[in-house]
């Protein structure tokens, strides 16, 4: 599947890491790890800036992450007006950090830097695929 399926609005169609979207279809969020030097990357990359190798393996993002920071957005850029308000977040999964949105099931007054979150793949009403961060005890 093409990368244009990723996100609320994709700006990129062709990439060597479009397999990321195939894995979202399977309900899973992946990083890439360099087979040559072992560096891990999120966002996923086709090429390693450490050893200049291009042999990458997909590796699943762990289930437990910690919220690094967040913001509740009340005013959206062009193309995202229908989504407001939404919460952008950066979550630390140990070896990698992941940027995305917090799920709407996380109540605003519960959100705290350092809280535990896990990734959840979601299909948007228009068929686009994305992921969000939800509470560790969230049941799909």
């Amino acid at each position: 599947m093409g990368f244009e399926k990723f996100g609320h609005k994709s700006y990129t169609a062709l990439t060597k890491v479009a397999g990321f979207v195939d894995r979202l279809v399977q309900g899973e969020l992946f990083a890439t790890r360099c087979s040559g030097c072992g560096r891990i990357y999120f966002p996923p990359r086709a090429d390693c800036a450490g050893c200049l190798g291009s042999a990458m393996q997909w590796e699943k993002i762990p289930e437990k992450g910690k919220l690094v920071s967040f913001t509740r957005v009340n005013y959206a850029p062009a193309g995202f007006e229908a989504d407001v308000p939404y919460t952008l977040a950066l979550v630390d999964f140990g070896e990698v950090k992941v940027f995305g949105r917090l799920g709407s099931t996380v109540a605003e007054d519960e959100i705290k830097v350092g809280m535990e979150l896990k990734p959840l793949v979601v299909t948007l009403p228009d068929g686009q695929l994305t992921y969000e961060f939800v509470l560790g005890n969230h049941k799909a």
């Binding site: 957005v73 005013y75 193309g79 940027f99 995305g100």
Partner: protein, 384 residues
């Protein structure tokens, strides 16, 4: 002390909501002021560097148009772009062209006419100044990124929304004195705190104003500077760095590593330390950015920027006056013109020509100019 390259002329238009003319005419205003200030003729300028973020421009390759309109043909000209840091990247490149001996005098011209786009359109373009594959699809924009830096600083150091309001109150006080500023009203802490939330915890007054404007700096080598200028302002130190565009690549959000690196380089080159700085212009595109700058530039220890702010030490009369021209918050932020305008402010300060905004006896000044959310940083130290 490096005294090889000096700034001998400065100019800028008033920063306004909507400039009543074409880009070339706006640029001409700043250029004519700088050339007259330097006391030279355009023919003496060896090259022109045009600093602008192209996503806002309808004119492709604006250097060609600018050089033609300013009478700078047939000298070489080209565009430099580092988003909001474009102007000071212009200074860095001009410095190196002069130092290399390719040109004796170089003009650094910055501009942006942002009023041709709606605010949502310009936020969308700014959002694409971050990672378009992995961040922009979530609906990102500059206030949101800086809001995340603010939230991280709050969580680690106990900084509050009131602290951010103090930054804006200070900016507005000086913006009211600056006849080149777009926002000339004073605002109170209460107004700041009760304003609508843009991206929590940042509210309307935590964000700088988009503006139209142009700036121009004339740089010269030591021989020409001493011949031409009675009050040359010397470039004592330069530092520049870059960082991961995607936030996932940052070690922490409580500061901008890119500024710490650029500052270290600039202080080292100048042989100076943060204590030696008499007046500073920092990139306060958002209130939190000014607080981060206090710490990243070494004016305060990490987490202690709020102490400096609350004690009034960054006002005129304080230990290190910062953004006493209103900063980006009140003066306005026409992307490509901003760096040149910051440098102009410090040049006027060091010449003792800053009028009601003058810091008495300022001898050494510093400029910090950021591109994107800490993707690029330039730090420049200037002295008499």
């Amino acid at each position: 002390m490096n005294k090889d390259v000096a700034i001998i002329g400065v100019g800028q238009t008033a920063f306004v909501r909507s400039y009543p003319g074409a880009v070339r005419e706006m640029v001409f205003e700043a250029f004519a002021e700088a050339v007259r200030d330097a006391g030279i003729t355009p023919r003496e300028i060896g090259a022109s560097l045009v600093c602008s973020a192209p996503e806002y421009d309808k004119q492709r390759s604006p250097a060609g148009m600018v050089a033609e309109y300013l009478g700078l043909n047939p000298q070489p000209t080209f565009v430099l772009e580092n988003i909001c840091a474009s102007g000071t990247t212009g200074v860095r490149v001009a410095y190196s062209l002069i130092k290399a001996g390719l040109h004796d005098i170089v003009a650094v011209i910055g501009f942006q006419k942002m009023s041709e786009l709606s605010s949502a359109e310009s936020q969308e373009r700014m959002g694409r100044g971050a990672d378009i594959m992995w961040e922009a699809p979530f609906g990102t924009m500059m206030p949101a990124y800086y809001a995340m830096h603010a939230r991280a600083h709050f969580a680690k150091y106990g900084t509050t929304e009131e602290d951010l309001a103090l930054v804006r109150v200070k900016a507005s006080r000086y913006g009211a004195l600056n006849d080149r500023a777009v926002f000339r009203k004073e605002v109170t802490k209460e107004q700041c705190l009760s304003a609508g939330v843009v991206a929590s915890p940042l509210k309307v007054y935590d964000c700088c104003a988009n503006a139209d404007g142009a700036s121009c700096l004339i740089l010269a080598n030591a021989v020409r500077a001493k011949e031409i200028s009675e009050k040359p302002v010397w470039i004592l130190g330069l530092g520049a760095a870059s960082a991961s565009m995607n936030l996932t690549g940052r070690d922490s959000l409580e500061g901008l590593e890119v500024t710490r690196l650029a500052a270290r380089e600039a202080y080292q080159m100048a042989g100076l330390s943060p204590r030696d700085i008499d007046v500073a212009e920092v990139h306060d595109c958002f209130t939190i950015a000014e607080l981060l700058a206090y710490e990243d530039l070494g004016f305060a220890e990490p987490g202690k920027g709020t102490d400096l702010l609350r004690a009034g030490e960054t006002q005129i009369g304080g230990r290190i006056p910062v953004n006493v021209d209103g900063g980006l918050l009140s003066k306005g932020h026409p992307i490509g013109a901003t760096g040149g305008s910051q440098v102009r402010t410090i040049v006027l300060q060091l010449r003792g020509e800053a009028g009601p905004m003058q810091v008495p006896g300022a001898e050494v000044g510093l400029v910090q100019n950021i591109g994107g959310v800490g993707i690029y940083s330039n730090v420049i130290i200037l002295g008499r």
